[in-house]
Symmetry: C2
Subunit: 413 residues, 2 copies
């Protein structure tokens, strides 16, 4: 398969990166002159692995490791705010392991993040301290043609909704993409290997990591105690393999476009969308939405309902239901007859029992005859809802109304 | 619990057995004088363990073990037919391991069966040769009060539809009942033990049987290679335990009456009765009906339908259906993604696949949306039908019509 056409489409325009680096230099100079602090640009712009018109400046300001965390956070915020003010831009405070400042400067998204300047990736005091070493490693090992392959991989993963080591995609980080291309030399060769992957693949370029149990293990070359692919869930891992096979077989360039919004429910089923109206950061929202939808799926299974598919999107969850209506009575399995004490307890609860093979059964009223009743009950009693979703105002939409509500949404499965 | 009232009800009237033995003596004399053959009466009349007004004369005619089987069969039939003719009765030929003659003489059911006179239960040439030794063992070990306990046990098992080592009940033979009372001394003591039974109970009164793997093992004291309880299925075994517990707890004398005919379907389900119109001996009919209903239950499960209960009766099978209607589409599970070859094969068959966890799925048209379609298809293509049922003319009844059709039938589960 020839990826040249796609590469051309996603490679940044001449000068795009230079302009960004020029802006970074202005910021760097301001921070040095005003606060006496060194700073660097990290991330995909620094590594030249960003997709066309998809730049952001991740600026790390270095602090001495002897500085207490509270002071690092306070100083980091002071420098960040002051920088945005200096360039006449608004900003907001974002929260990762510690707070940082983000906003737009001259039309480019900029983040200003404080970090400790440590001796190596093994001596970090906070997760971000590792980032400068990642940058260093990638700059040393990635050549120019491989940069295009990283771009291809990122574009492919984005289209497949597998990009991002966050609770939205449970997927591949940018750094993971870079390491995979370093390991396999090219996107094409990565595909050739990935189609044969089985759970437990271990990529350990320096040969000193161990004890990881994730579906995909890529030992961080700058810190062997860390699996760079730890965010990749079993589903993401399997979907990547499946997508790699499909693109290898079909050579379909549409697998690099998208992700396409909306979802077309299976006809003849029932389609439900639950919308949580609340102001909360994306990472928290997706994490709680995922937890909630998995909880609903589990209760559906426990009560005899079945689903075609389920997913999360930026405002809630969707459920495409196969069997959503059941008879009023159900056959309820009890303990084996030979477990005397259990059998007696079951009979006390259910006076009418019968035996099949070695097991007691009874016929009982079904708790939920319709999946609507179940979903309402889950929501009313707040089962499976994280603390943020508990505060949300909740709407339940069905069938065509539900389809319409998500027609512009990207659904993550 | 005091069983005296029930014992009184089921114990034969004064003179009932004497009259039967008198008739047997006439028959015995006729066979000896006309054919020079010895004969004995075996079975529950001989052992005095029969229920009131429930007698039959099982007459065994002895032959020398040197006689070839074909001659034994021919001579046996000749003697049998001639005996019925002599007493002015009609007869028919029945078939067990070999053919025999049965009919009514002076109002009593009589069977005349040829057997070899062998040295011991271990030297038998045909299953019936063991019977005289069973008779001998029971006469030696059972006392008069225990005879009433055998009757109680038989009556209890009959009411619970667990009596008979045939394909109708998959249950307890008369000889098994006698051995259980010999082992446990009384019906009450048998119940006290049975409520605690677990699969694999071994009752080996002479301590020389082994290698049996049935739920209940009662080693034949006259032939240690044989499990007297081999016909007792796991369901029958478990139902007996369950019934023993219930009668012990409730002391309900109604547990000795019946079996009650008919079946009341669970409301809100679908009820189906399939009637096979054919003339075939009972043992074959029940065996094939059981095999068929189990086959239907399996196909129902494979296709997403669920059942409350199912059973067989003298003319067919019944299905009490919980979920008999399903959506037109179904979620179909494929192989794990990491099994490359299997996954590729699945995708060739199903172009639209998706991944959950590590497994491929597709949405496909359901083969059977209604259980009616499935049942019709099973019958049209004769799946699960034994050779006799294949020749039957078949009717399918539903709901009230189905309930009416079996209101006088005893259902065996």
């Amino acid at each position: 398969m020839n990826f040249d056409k796609i590469t051309k489409r996603i490679r940044p325009k001449e000068g795009e990166r230079d302009n960004a680096l020029k802006l970074f230099n202005h910021i760097k100079t301001y921070i040095l002159e005003s606060f006496g602090k060194e700073s660097i640009i990290v991330g995909s712009v620094a590594k030249d692995t960003f997709l066309k018109e998809d730049m952001d400046l991740d600026i790390f300001v270095f602090f001495d490791p002897s500085l207490p965390k509270e002071l690092l956070e306070r100083e980091g915020l002071r420098i960040g705010k002051s920088t945005f003010n200096h360039f006449g831009s608004s900003y907001k405070i974002a929260y990762a392991e510690h707070p940082y400042v983000s906003g737009d400067i001259e039309g480019l998204p900029v983040e200003i993040v404080p970090c400790y300047k440590v001796a190596s990736g093994r001596h970090i005091r906070s997760a971000v301290d590792r980032t400068p070493f990642h940058l260093e490693y990638v700059m040393e090992h990635l050549n120019d043609s491989q940069r295009d392959d990283v771009r291809l991989l990122k574009k492919f993963l984005k289209a497949q909704k597998l990009y991002g080591a966050d609770s939205r995609a449970n997927g591949f980080s940018g750094y993971l993409c870079e390491l995979l291309i370093i390991k396999y030399n090219s996107f094409a060769n990565l595909l050739a290997h990935a189609i044969q992957w089985e759970r437990g693949v271990i990529i350990d370029m320096n040969g000193n990591g161990k004890g990881f149990e994730d579906p995909l293990v890529v030992v961080d070359p700058v810190d062997p105690t860390r699996n760079v692919a730890s965010a990749v869930s079993l589903s993401t891992f399997s979907r990547f393999i499946e997508a790699a096979r499909t693109v290898s077989e079909t050579k379909d360039v549409r697998m690099f476009s998208g992700p396409r919004p909306g979802y077309q429910p299976v006809d003849a089923g029932t389609f439900v969308v639950i919308i949580f109206d609340i102001d909360v950061i994306e990472e928290v929202f997706y994490a709680q939405a995922r937890k909630f939808v998995e909880h609903v799926v589990k209760e559906c299974g426990d009560n005899g309902f079945t689903l075609f598919r389920h997913g999360v999107f930026s405002k809630g969850v969707m459920l495409d239901i196969e069997i959503g209506q059941l008879p009023e009575k159900e056959k309820h399995r009890g303990p084996p007859v030979e477990k005397y004490a259990h059998a007696e307890k079951f009979k006390q609860k259910h006076p009418d029992v019968f035996v099949e093979q070695d097991v007691l059964y009874t016929i009982r009223e079904r708790k939920y005859v319709s999946i609507d009743d179940l979903i309402n009950d889950i929501i009313v009693s707040q089962r499976g809802l994280g603390s943020s979703l508990k505060r949300a105002s909740i709407r339940i939409l069905k069938d065509q109304e539900a389809v319409n509500a998500i027609e512009k949404e990207i659904i993550f499965f």
